[in-house]
Amino acid sequence: MRFSFIHAFRAMILLLFVLLVGDLYYSGELFMLINPDYQNLNGLAVFILIILFLVQLQRVWFQSEVCGHACEHDHAHDQGTFNIKTCLAYLIIVFPIFTGFILPFTTLDASTAANRGVMLSLTSHALSAQNAEPFYYPNATMDDNHQYDTPEDINLYSNMVTKDEYENALAQLVEQDPIIMTDQDYSIYYEAINKDMENFSGKKITLNGFVYKNPSLDYNQVVIGRFLITHCIADASYIGFLAELNQAPQWSEDAWVAVTGVIKITEYEGVKLPMIQVEEWEVINEPDQPYLYPMHITIR
């Protein structure tokens, strides 16, 4: 019976990957990285890693005389032979374990939003009003105040609604005044308001988001918005509203604010945009769940 250092090392790497992903899951940090809808896939990843670890463990001690199945597969990096290429390969593999270990995760902020072209995204969404067919509002099928069967902080777990709930939420939007942009409704309301801004002009709106500033805007204008995450934060897209108020210059970029104001239509580089004339505002802490998720509709 002989001890194989390289196999022990590989078993350790697999185990550390298991713990790293498992730790993300239990500490809730996973939701700083991916849309919670996909957390089951991550469970699957951990499950497979555990299997691979258990299989790998069998190879740490091998019987030299009965060279079993395992031996044939030790290609390239055989026991003991440690050349530069192998070292480099393992350094790369250990790299994420190392950085995951020593570097805490952060939330995407205004500089990321800037990289992703905030103004491009805003004008693109607003342009949809000009070339799309009239926005479709379903007839309300439920009672006045739309309610979800699911708990209110649903966004922390999933943004799944039934088709009825979805249609009801949209139907409610037309009558709502003030419009309250909850985490759950934010993305569909955002789309509706952009597509049909004339209809919403003059209505009151309440929302929160973080501040983004752009030199091409007037001195008293900022963008207030949030990131929408489809799968992981690498695919985050920024959705937000232009906001105008005289105190805007004193807001610092990345500050989270809750604002209430009136929707107006303004022009930015020749494109009509919905804008919020802010009436009341306060600086708030970053919410526990800073990201938004697209609404998934269950088909029944």
């Binding site: 019987q63 199945h69 270990f101 570097l103 992703r116 690498a234």
Partner: protein
Amino acid sequence: MLNKLRGAVIDFTGLFLFGLAMCLFSYKETIQLMFQLPASIYKMNTIFFSILIEAFPFVLLGVIISGLIQIFITEDHIKRWIPKNKYLAITMGCLLGAVFPGCECGIVPIIRRLLNKGVPIYAATGFMLTGPLINPLVIISTYIAFGNDLKIAFLRMGLGFIIALIIAIVMSLSIKMKPLRSSTHKKIKRDHHDFKASLLTKISGAMIHATDEFFYMVKYLILGILFAAFVQTYISYETLFSLGEGEAVATGLMMVLAYLLSVCSEADAFIAASFSNLFPISALLGFLIYGPMIDLKNTLMLLSVFKTKFVAVFFVVVTVIVFSVVLLFQGFYHR
């Protein structure tokens, strides 16, 4: 007796490794507080991890499937299943890829194994191109991203399929060399399996292959994601788009973006949708079709399997064909 002892020693080793790992983890927070780096480093690390976590399940499933193929599918099976006719084989590869729910990084280990088992390169190319592009998850996410409109989703699938066919045919005509790296080629000759072994032995064999495959692939995946995270953190695509206007330029830029961002094909539709009113349909389709076929993180994985020359030719062929077909489509679309 010896076996019992071996079992006990293995258990002990496992416990020891677990204890060691837990020890390391308990110091995590202390270490994190010990120093402060520029904010962009933390952001890059976060984006890096999010892509890694996103890709992990798909890559792990990929290596498991690859391991199972290695053990349960023989070269004879492949010979019987794949049509003799080259064009039929390509069509079959594309169709199988369309049915197979893959992802551009998870599919590479499967392709490697299939090629080792004697699947002709042209059929494998078709499979590799449609696997990540056409599957239910991608259709649904594209449908939702474009405001519950099926048009773009259908165009992505339909045009993507045609493009994949053309690319596979062009590749089969232009490449005469052996595409695999020699190191990967030699290895298969050594793997000789007893197909009469018990199911349990077979499965454990498959898992051992999967582990080896994981260690072989994961380093390329990590490097690729590292590049992608760098691009996402430090390069602004607002400046990218200030480079020019016009259909061809917009299409080219969106394809560059798709390549650099390396976003999973299940999630890229929302990025495309956020540009939907600024760019012509050719640019959106270019982004949606090119990204799943080739991107920064999967180029590195391809390089681990194929010769550099093959990857270079593949890259050029895919780029040219996607670009010209979507622009051609744009021409017809206007009329």
